[in-house]
């Protein structure tokens, strides 16, 4: 019996050595990514995807990707992590401070990557990431993922300046108060045209408006060093009151709460236009202008979309809502990866941030999904392409590039071939540089509060619901304050106390 066992064990050892020898060049990596083109086909490596083939040639890694529609990614994350035997090896975690991220990291679902990121010799690209952003990801002082870099100062307002000109705002408003005045005047243009384009996802709109108005983001610290929720700030209430006023003036679609975030573009990209302004990431603003140029014959030399950000509030203070913390989620390596395989996986992630990796993941392959024109810039279609050829190129890109950029971390900066600038794109990029100083943060972002992990999300949901009801005129100020009082009573006070303790200890 003993002999048999030892024979079996040595055979297993031999097999594993052999498979490892093969794995040195050839690694199959199971990856789970959010899918933004779930309505489009996907070509896998076996089906002959040229981009995955190029990645394989460059790294020896065969990517086996599981796409999960973005809208259901959060749920799929929970379900995936509830079945440790069948986890993907590399996956995106969308919320770096979500309860599921923290509890899974603590339970040992992910590899500790702290040492890899510190190893600048072997993983130079990952090590080049910003420590300030990495710090936001720490769980109990250890790092369990590589952040996916995003620009800080992305958020603001974009609006149709051709309509603003009709109400006397040919020039951009210079202050928050002027901005509010412009909105209310625009609401009066036509009862069928709304001003704010809003949908079910209201956190962005309320956040941009209130922070612009001078409120803190999520939590504030008062003069006595006490932490308080942002919604109790006067400036927050003022910002919310303004949205309510605009709603009452017919400036917001009364059905906005039934519009899915996937259909957010519909109101501004409809004919005739149904909404003139959006409080959101400004890259959507230049995309809107480009869409108008392509579909409505708008003049590229005189954009009819304006980007508005970094406006001084009535006290002269400039604040920008942090659409993110310099990151949009993180890439984790699960324990489905063996300790032996881990360095190879990390090598691959490091390669993903190299110029070659970034280009393949974000732009695809030259001649397949992007083309360098004679002006030296990168385009998504061949030079001199007809509209039909542009469409074909677009469809092909969705099929073979799909949402591969979701695997991109780019912690060491954008190394992809530059795209041709447009007036708004350049303005946006300049904004990112100029305005990063105005972006505010949540002082409690990295604080670990048990109550917040357990019920923070549902408490925040209730407060947000009450704010929406307040905007829509369904409840009055007293009703809103009842909701705030409930927040305190049902766990908010515990969260504040736990945050305060950490805040005081850190100080």
């Amino acid at each position: 019996m003993k002999k048999l066992v030892s024979l079996f064990l040595s055979l297993a050892l031999l097999l594993s050595v052999m498979s490892f020898a093969a794995a040195e060049d050839d690694v199959t990596l199971n990856v789970m990514l959010p899918d933004f083109y779930s309505d489009s086909d996907w070509k896998s490596l076996e089906d002959g995807n040229p981009i995955l083939q190029k990645i394989y040639e460059a790294t020896g890694v065969k990517l086996n990707i599981t796409w999960v529609p973005d809208s259901g990614y959060g749920e799929q994350t929970t379900l995936t992590l509830a079945d440790p035997a069948h986890m993907p090896e590399v996956m995106v975690m969308q919320g770096v401070r979500d309860a599921i991220m923290i509890s899974s990291a603590r339970a040992g679902a992910f590899w500790d990557l702290t040492d890899f990121v510190a190893d600048a010799e072997n993983y130079p690209n990952l090590a080049a990431g910003a420590d300030s952003v990495y710090d936001n990801l720490l769980v109990d002082g250890r790092l369990y993922g590589i952040y996916r870099a995003r620009a800080y100062a992305r958020a603001g307002v974009y609006y149709r300046n051709d309509y603003a000109a009709q109400v006397g705002y040919a020039e951009e408003p210079k202050t928050v108060e002027e901005f509010k005045d412009m909105c209310l005047k625009m609401a009066a243009i036509d009862p069928n045209i709304y001003v704010f384009n809003m949908c079910k996802y209201v956190a962005g709109t309320i956040g941009v408006m209130t922070v612009m108005n001078g409120a803190p983001y999520q939590y504030g610290v008062n003069a006595e060093g006490k932490i308080y929720p942002a919604f109790e700030d006067e400036a927050f209430q003022e910002g919310l009151d303004f949205i309510r006023e605009l709603y009452a003036a017919g400036g917001i679609d009364p059905n906005f709460m039934t519009i899915e975030s996937g259909n957010w573009n519909d109101a501004e990209r409809s004919d005739p236009v149904k909404a003139l302004m959006r409080l959101d990431c400004l890259d959507n603003g230049y995309r809107y202008q480009e869409w108008l140029e392509q579909n409505k014959g708008a003049d590229a030399s005189a954009p009819i979309v304006s980007l508005l950000t970094a406006l001084p509030d009535k006290n002269g203070k400039i604040q920008i809502w942090p659409q993110n913390i310099g990151a949009s989620g993180e890439i984790v390596v699960t324990k489905a990866v063996s300790a032996d395989k881990l360095p190879a996986v990390m090598k691959f992630l490091d390669w993903c941030s190299s110029a070659e990796g970034q280009t393949l993941l974000n732009c695809g392959a030259e001649g397949e999904t992007y083309w360098i024109h004679s002006d030296g810039f990168r385009y998504t279609y061949p030079e001199g392409a007809t509209d039909e050829e542009k469409n074909t190129a677009d469809t092909n890109t969705h099929v073979i590039l799909h949402s591969l950029n979701q695997l991109g971390m780019n912690v060491n900066g954008d190394l992809t071939p530059p795209a041709a600038g447009t007036i708004l794109r350049d303005e946006y990029n300049q904004n990112l540089l100029d305005n990063a100083q105005y972006v505010i943060g949540n002082p409690c972002y990295t604080f670990d509060s048990e109550t917040n992990n357990l019920m923070g999300a549902s408490l925040a949901q209730e407060v947000e619901d009450a704010q929406v009801q307040y905007i829509a005129g369904k409840i009055d100020l007293a009703g809103l304050q009842t909701a705030y009082a409930n927040w305190h009573a049902q766990g908010g006070d515990d969260i504040l106390a736990e945050y305060q303790a950490i805040y005081d200890a850190e100080k």
Partner: protein, 318 residues
């Protein structure tokens, strides 16, 4: 059936133990017991064994530690749920919606079946029946989308009622309307399909009874009341008791699709709570405990309704 030796071996009047009785019965019908085995195994493997999963409702369950190594928490999650002031909202939302559906959705197929039963033209009846089954096959997602289109502020029904009543009703946001929308959608979708079983029961009614009643001068309403309804009474009661078992299953997808910030105060049922906290926020232990509590309430409802069925002189479930 003739008495076997084994049975006659027991003296009359002597109290026989349960195991002894089972043994005797087994000896009497060995083949029947053999045939029972597959069913028994099915229930053990697929119904009773997975039930041990509820153990995670008493632990701080982590999938990476497994059910045996996760920390034991006892009744912590139950206490936690009842210590929040929201549990009453969840429970009452669940109960109100459930009983509204019993009161309004349950009788609908019976009424429709009776109406169909009165149709004389056999072709018209068949076509109508087929058309009535159709909504059952439409996904609830589509039903909700259609609702959005016709009840939204651009929708035909919204505009019609605004014109007729002179004031607008916020069909999609008003918490007072929410439950009626849910019940209405369910009636629209499932009533036709629900008639099948009652129509089947109606075909078994003896036509001679109708003829006799007609000779005695009974009109249509009287025939309906005194012959048809009593004839399908046991089917109705049986369906009702079955329905009680799942009455708390409000389902979450329908409610989530219809809910938004304006009506969340009434759309949050226990099922929605389990989905939001368990699937979306990953609190597996907490939501297992809440789900278990819901099941206990369901058991109480089934037992009670079965008792009521017996009291009404019907057979009930068991």
């Amino acid at each position: 059936m003739t008495k076997t030796n084994a049975e006659s071996a027991v003296l009359p009047g002597k109290k026989v133990g349960y195991w002894k009785k089972l043994k005797l019965d087994f000896l009497k019908n060995p083949w029947l017991y053999l045939m029972l085995i597959p069913g028994l195994v099915y229930f053990l493997v697929f119904k009773y064994l997975p039930m041990w999963g509820i153990i995670i409702g008493f632990e701080d369950y982590s999938p990476f530690l497994g059910p045996f190594k996760s920390a034991w928490k006892g009744l912590y999650w139950f206490q936690r749920f009842f210590s929040t002031s929201k549990w009453m909202t969840y429970l009452s939302n669940t109960l109100i919606l459930s009983f509204m559906s019993i009161i309004f959705t349950f009788p609908a197929p019976i009424i429709l079946a009776l109406m169909l039963n009165e149709i004389r033209s056999i072709h018209y009846k068949k076509v109508t029946q087929t058309l009535l089954y159709m909504p059952h096959f439409i996904s609830i997602v589509i039903v909700v989308s259609i609702t959005y289109v016709i009840f939204g502020t651009d929708g035909i029904i919204y505009k019609l009622t605004t014109q007729l009543m002179g004031r607008s009703i916020d069909y999609l946001g008003d918490p007072g309307v929410f439950r009626w929308m849910i019940v209405g959608q369910n009636i629209w979708k499932e009533t036709g399909w629900g008639t099948i079983i009652f129509l089947a029961a109606l075909t078994n009614v003896d036509t001679q009874l109708y003829e006799a009643a007609m000779i005695d001068g009974a009109n249509r309403a009287q025939r309906l009341w005194h012959i048809t309804l009593p004839a399908i009474r046991s089917t109705i009661v049986l369906m009702l008791v079955l329905r009680m078992g799942s009455v708390l299953d409000t389902g979450y997808e329908h409610l989530i699709l219809m809910s938004n910030a304006l009506n969340r105060s009434v759309s949050q049922t226990l099922d929605v709570f389990v989905y939001e906290n368990g699937i979306k926020n990953g609190q597996l232990s907490y939501t297992t405990a809440v789900g278990l509590m819901k099941s206990l309430v369901s058991v109480v409802l089934v037992v009670t309704s079965n008792k009521i069925a017996h009291a009404l002189g019907e057979e009930g479930l068991y």
